[in-house]
Symmetry: C2
Subunit: 193 residues, 2 copies
């Protein structure tokens, strides 16, 4: 892997764990045993590095979701697939979700970043999916976008709660809670169908 990619990956990890202000470019570089100026050669400023991380993160997320939601599956199955990918994400996807959650919290201030436009297509696609399904007589009772946002919110909030919930409950209790939470969301989809 090239140095630039290594930097991008390590920065993604640190930004997602500690946030923008909690991460110094020195930390990022040091973990790869290169100097801070080595990093600044590839990314001319911290902001630029962060922007690059965001972009690659969003790209990864979209690419990761695409095969599950843009396939020739029935809308109901696409939603169920989406849910399962988000509820039990691979490590990188997990990181990306945390990162974007932080960005959601921060971007009232540092609001220039474009990730929203990257994610909008996904949102649009899902909305269109449900709407199309409604024309065939399904999902009659729901408002598409609100419904989807409800799903995304519940599953992502649970994800960031995991460390705390693990401390709050026993490992076993947590595990069943996690399973039940996913089942509840699946039931939400199938019962609205």
């Amino acid at each position: 892997m090239k140095t630039r990619e290594k930097l991008l990956l390590k920065a993604e990890i640190l930004f997602s764990e500690r946030g923008f202000y909690g991460t110094s470019i020195n930390d990022v570089a040091a973990e790869l045993t290169i100097s801070k100026q080595g990093l600044l050669h590839h990314f001319p400023s911290k902001e630029k590095l962060y922007a690059a991380v965001l972009e690659s993160a969003v790209t990864h997320l979209v690419e990761n979701l695409k095969p599950n939601i843009e396939h020739e599956l029935a809308p109901r199955e696409q939603l169920l697939n989406l849910l399962n990918v988000l509820a039990a994400p691979d490590k990188r996807t997990h990181r990306v979700i945390l990162l974007l959650m932080r960005e959601l919290l921060d971007n009232k201030e540092r609001s220039e970043h474009a990730h929203q436009w990257f994610l909008k297509p996904v949102l649009d696609h899902l909305e269109g999916l449900v709407k199309a399904s409604q024309k065939q007589g399904h999902f009659q009772e729901i408002k598409p976008l609100a419904f989807i946002y409800q799903l995304l919110g519940a599953v992502q909030y649970f994800l960031i709660s995991e460390p705390t919930l693990k401390k709050l409950y026993s490992a076993k209790t947590f595990k069943t809670l996690k399973k039940q939470h996913l089942l509840e969301l699946e039931r939400l989809i199938t019962s609205a169908y």
Copy 2:
């Protein structure tokens, strides 16, 4: 208002907007036109200040929810009330939710803070509420804790998404989306009842 309270309030605002690392004690003090050392007189360290903010925030949240959920209302109405308080919170409650969301994201690292134990009673109460209701024949299909977490997650995630959604959609579209989102969650409760 005493200086200490003013500091606590201002710190709550800044921590909720910029996070722990994004806020300096100098910023907090300067906004009240007192010196940094004036602040350090009341709170001996930044960590102590943050801990005090967290505690007062959690206390406020619990006190704010209590009258809505510990009243002599039927469980179903208590849940609906809770939802409405969280979905359209007053400014301070809004801030507190953002703050605790950040804490949820951060506490894998800086994990000593006790807010989880403060919030657990609320969680327990809600869970007990649903369980009691189940014994009377309601909410038969759901797992109480998972169901509640689903509600809390959806409503809080929507809250932190608001600035981004406002940019993504027109003011009018956003407003109806917000209303629909709340209605969906209310429908979720009433249909599960």
